[in-house]
Symmetry: C2
Subunit: 385 residues, 2 copies
């Protein structure tokens, strides 16, 4: 990791950037059949769109991500965007060469319309009156942003985890608009195991009396439930190996255990710390909506009459699929299933399983090989267009 520490310095960054908002006042048709709008989209852009508008890359964020993929909000800001190591001048996604867009998904809570948004012409929040949006609906909203920016074709859609599901959806829903796609640590549909973890996390939120059927915005928030949900998620993003290396059975404060229900082990303290940070920045209802959308996502069922090969036969993009050895949430076999179906559909696909001990979260951690693969794939795509 140390080799890439230089990429975290501000001098290699896109620098100071500004979060933008655009409101689309006409309604979109959701997959549930409902008409919904207006929709506000929060987004950021890095780099410059070239004259023929052929160098645009759309970055798609994961469950708890946002539009802030790279850069800093002001001079005093010490925390860069969530994919700073990958996105910037001369980096994997080279902002000297490409025009990079990242937008917050609808249903989220980082600036785009979601359950915490105010219902137009009222003073109340949507809360659980917000419609259940799918991955397809998220992409429909993103398409409006891309149209608004005057871009006819995306040179690449790039995403990990839930971002990968959005990228997949782009490729089959708007095939003519996508030249290439990079899919990281993702799946064409959730396994029963992934659904099970999400459902338990949702139950933890809904069991918190402060959840109050989603109507908590002017009251005490369901932070205890959301913290448990986050801890469950967090465990699934790590791996047995990474936890063993990072924490093992090391005790928190002393050489002896407490013989009570306080925090004894460092792993416990880490989960508490992470979940406390998380509840400050994330909305419990958005957690419910986005995990449900992820559980519903089923590329084969929605686009291929239950056949992944048929679903991919709609796509025109060339693909780079990357899985990580220790990812047990979306294990390599799920990436291989996609790759097999892509090949059967005659698509141009490169696949790589990267050896990484960090579990599902590996796509959020820098490694030379990972960055070079993304860089080379985009370079080649750029040359071909």
């Amino acid at each position: 990791m140390s080799d890439y520490s230089k990429f975290n310095k501000k001098k290699n960054s896109v620098g100071i950037i500004k979060k933008k908002h655009v409101v689309f006042s006409d309604k979109i048709k959701l997959e549930s059949g409902m008409l919904f709008g207006p929709i506000s989209i929060a987004y950021e852009t890095y780099g410059t769109l070239n004259s023929d508008k052929s160098n645009a890359i759309l970055i798609l964020h994961a469950l708890t991500g946002d539009s802030h993929a790279a850069g800093y909000y002001d001079e005093k800001d010490i925390k860069p965007g969530w994919w700073e190591f990958m996105t910037g001048p001369l980096k994997g996604i080279d902002t000297d060469k490409y025009f990079v867009i990242c937008s917050n998904i609808i249903g989220g809570c980082m600036g785009s319309t979601g359950p915490s948004s105010i219902v137009p012409e009222t003073s109340g929040h949507y809360a659980t009156k917000f419609p259940l949006v799918t991955l397809g609906d998220m992409v429909t909203a993103q398409k409006k942003l891309i149209d608004y920016l005057g871009i006819k074709k995306l040179m690449a859609v790039v995403g990990g985890s839930l971002g990968g599901m959005q990228a997949l959806t782009w490729c089959v829903k708007y095939p003519k608009m996508v030249v290439s796609a990079i899919l990281l640590a993702t799946t064409a549909r959730h396994s029963a195991l992934a659904i099970a973890f999400n459902e338990v996390a949702r139950q933890a939120i809904m069991a918190d009396p402060h959840w109050n059927n989603g109507y908590y915005y002017s009251k005490k928030k369901p932070n205890a439930g959301l913290a448990v949900a986050r801890m469950i998620g967090h465990i699934t993003y790590l791996s047995d190996e990474s936890m063993r290396k990072k924490f093992g059975r090391r005790l928190q404060d002393k050489n002896n255990v407490s013989f009570n229900f306080n925090t004894d082990f460092q792993i416990e303290n880490y989960l508490h710390y992470q979940s406390k940070k998380f509840v400050k920045r994330f909305d419990a209802n958005s957690f419910l909506y986005i995990t449900k959308a992820a559980d519903y996502f089923d590329l084969a069922k929605e686009y291929g009459n239950d056949s992944l090969v048929m679903a991919f036969s709609k796509a025109l993009a060339k693909f780079l699929v990357i899985s990580f050895t220790s990812d047990w949430l979306y294990p390599t076999y799920q990436s291989k299933l996609m790759v097999k179906a892509m090949k059967k559909s005659g698509l141009d696909v490169s696949f790589c399983e990267i050896k990484a001990g960090w579990g599902h979260d590996a796509f959020l951690l820098p490694s030379e090989r990972f960055i070079e693969m993304v860089k080379n794939f985009l370079n080649n795509t750029y040359k071909e267009i």
Copy 2:
């Protein structure tokens, strides 16, 4: 599984049995240093103790188990004990040949003293005034029962998961009393991953306002929190493969998803159903106490100055260690670490990894190979004594 369905018939059962209780009025010294008593132990026995008292086998139950390993409580009882397929006439643990004992652990809630017990000479429950008991303390209490039964030597201690940890503790704490030990799907200490899951489950219980610092016995119980805790546990007992085979992405009620936060998938419904059943029979405080005891358990640290080889050098028993391929809670590598240390200590140990798709719970499911291995190991032990 069907080959062994015959073992579930009453005719192959130990038949109608009775749960017994014994109270030890003197206090025991807990590993925390505290003196604690009196202690009540709930237990059951099957088969007959031979004249030289050499045919006794102690079965040790897992987290949510109890003393009811085999048989039925009355003629109308349709649900046999939890290890009926393994325990009975001519079965793996042959009650025609052996005298079998199974007792509820202290800290539990199935008849032995635990947080839900009444504090002597009061009308109040221990609740969280109950001391934090360790695996060593559980075994100290079991030793009192074995002494009370007049048994000097156990032909075998047998346990899966937390039961395996008790069996391990028996072998190093009272080595002269244990001739052999069968350790199933267990570990010499919890990984950070296992601790993480337990801690999130505990947080789910303690986040439920009905938990009320453990004082809920005369009030509404923290069932919502306990249900989430159980669901977390349940997922770790299964495997990706078993869930895929049993549930996949099958929908619960109809061909379409609900577009709300109801139960859509069968896996969700299964977890809800199981957790609802569970909260009726299990005490939330016991869940806290027992999981904490499991997290504290560290055979090397407690008995070998951090060396597993040194810990096992205290043992005299011969061992059968069995792990299951799809167990990701206590994976095979953890059994292998034990076996390696046992061999280095010069112990007689047989090890087998059984191919099973059912995850950690595999030791609770019948398979011919598994039953035969237990049977043969006990047969050989019996011949040698």
